[in-house]
Symmetry: C2
Subunit: 245 residues, 2 copies
DNA sequence: CACGTATGAGAGCACTGCTCTTGCTCTGGA
DNA sequence: TCCAGAGCAAGAGCAGTGCTCTCATACGTG
């Protein structure tokens, strides 16, 4: 309100900025980050290319804005999947959130590549990408926290050598969780994006065919890895019984 | 011999092609794929930029050549680490190969991004990248095969829904291994590159500090996931005993 | 030896990111 | 109310890019 009442000029700036991002996102989705051209965006919007620099000081800044939006979009997808499954047990919620993240990635491959593929602008991400980038991870922390509070987590003991780093991470990320869970969580977080990335980037071509099924199973195993067990069959050990084959 | 004796012209072509790739690889390592410029390569080599097109018909073809080289390099790193550890038990070999792959990735981040980040040229990889891309995975298959033949693998039973796809993959990839192992192997393969990618691309910044230790532990857990157990403590179940925490 | 082909060089096209200058329009304070 | 300064748009222009075309030259095979 107050910001819109601040004059027609400020209002126009917001709208033009949004229009630029929208058109840029369209081109990104169609052709990929490499082919995103400021001049093409300006052309499509009917404005001079130089005028665009009033809104984004460089191409990298535009890309950074798109990166933040993409992190927020995939984070929102994870969060809304979690909210929709709020009635389910943690292990099921874990899998549903994994599937939502994967679905977003498959629906927006170029945006996914922008954030989880090679980071293109600069080598270190700008500071303001950090909070949006953390949203997906935080959903998994939340699920694990719930399970820890209710049924507890089934996890093997930490090897001695990992203990110092595990406790450091725990203090930083989730002091209310056991260190065994935090390390398992960070690993599962990274591993999840390995699975998704291989699918999005074509590494599973001619390898995995029924990717839905394969992914669901892999996500289930990740859940077991962080100590989440499906209800009413969780004994004292967290993994399905293993046999020698 | 016969190909080099085929005349000074053919010999020169091989050398110039190699020189172009070397210089391109240098620029790739320094600035990343986005900044790799044919003209700059030609300039550095003291030749006209148009002459370069006699050797690579387009920039994408040059990149594809670099991609194949990178796949071969990371594959060779995995294989030589495996050869060097041929005396060790499978679980230990698994971890050592994982660490070698990670070390290569950290030493060649831009080349790693080229092959496991966003695939930049086209959307589907050319056919001749497939065999080099498979080398790393094949090392892991070999390790698992050894363990299966000697001590066997400790793996949980497959869920019924996954069985068809698991048997499809097994027939395609490793008919001599149990389906439980093949699915676990494919998942672990993707998950490994999730761990490595997150480290190389900076996703672990401000999250994981002692990355060596963290990675070694994570690689160990991946080994357990495919049924590899360290010697003299492997009971009938494949994972370390889990407790409720 | 002569012919054809592989190679190199240069000019040129269309495109890119980005800067600078020139006008115009809106806005906040005297 | 008016007006200086800020915000904004447009155009020209620079240096760089991938790629194509033409033309000359040197090679090596008939």
């Amino acid at each position: 309100m107050s910001s819109t009442a601040r004059g027609v000029r400020a209002r126009a700036r917001i709208e033009v900025t949004a229009a630029i991002k929208d058109e840029a996102r369209r081109q990104l989705a169609e052709e990929g980050a490499a082919k995103l051209s400021l001049r093409a965006v300006a052309r499509e919007l009917g404005m001079a290319s130089s005028a665009l620099y009033r809104y984004f000081p460089s191409r990298d800044d535009l890309l950074t804005a798109l990166i933040i939006d993409a992190y927020n979009a995939i984070g929102a997808a994870a969060e809304s999947a979690h909210d929709a499954a709020s009635g389910s047990d943690p292990a099921r919620r874990w899998t549903l959130v994994c599937e939502a993240v994967r679905a977003w990635a498959l629906a927006h491959p170029h945006e996914y590549a922008l954030i989880y593929g090679s980071p293109v602008p600069g080598y270190t991400a700008p500071q303001d990408t950090v909070p949006p980038a953390a949203r997906v991870g935080q959903v998994f922390f939340g699920i694990t926290r719930d399970a820890h509070r209710s049924t507890g987590l089934a996890l093997p003991e930490l090897p001695a050598g990992l203990r110092p780093e595990a406790e450091r991470m725990t203090a930083d990320l989730a002091p209310d969780l056991p260190s065994e869970a935090v390390t398992a969580l960070v690993a599962a977080w990274a591993e999840l994006f390995g699975l998704i990335g291989f699918e999005v980037f074509g590494q599973f071509n001619r390898v995995v065919e029924d990717r839905e099924t394969f992914f669901r199973h892999a996500a289930d195993r990740l859940a077991r890895g962080v100590g989440l067990t499906p209800p009413r069959q969780g004994g004292s050990e967290g993994t399905a019984p293993a046999r020698r084959v």
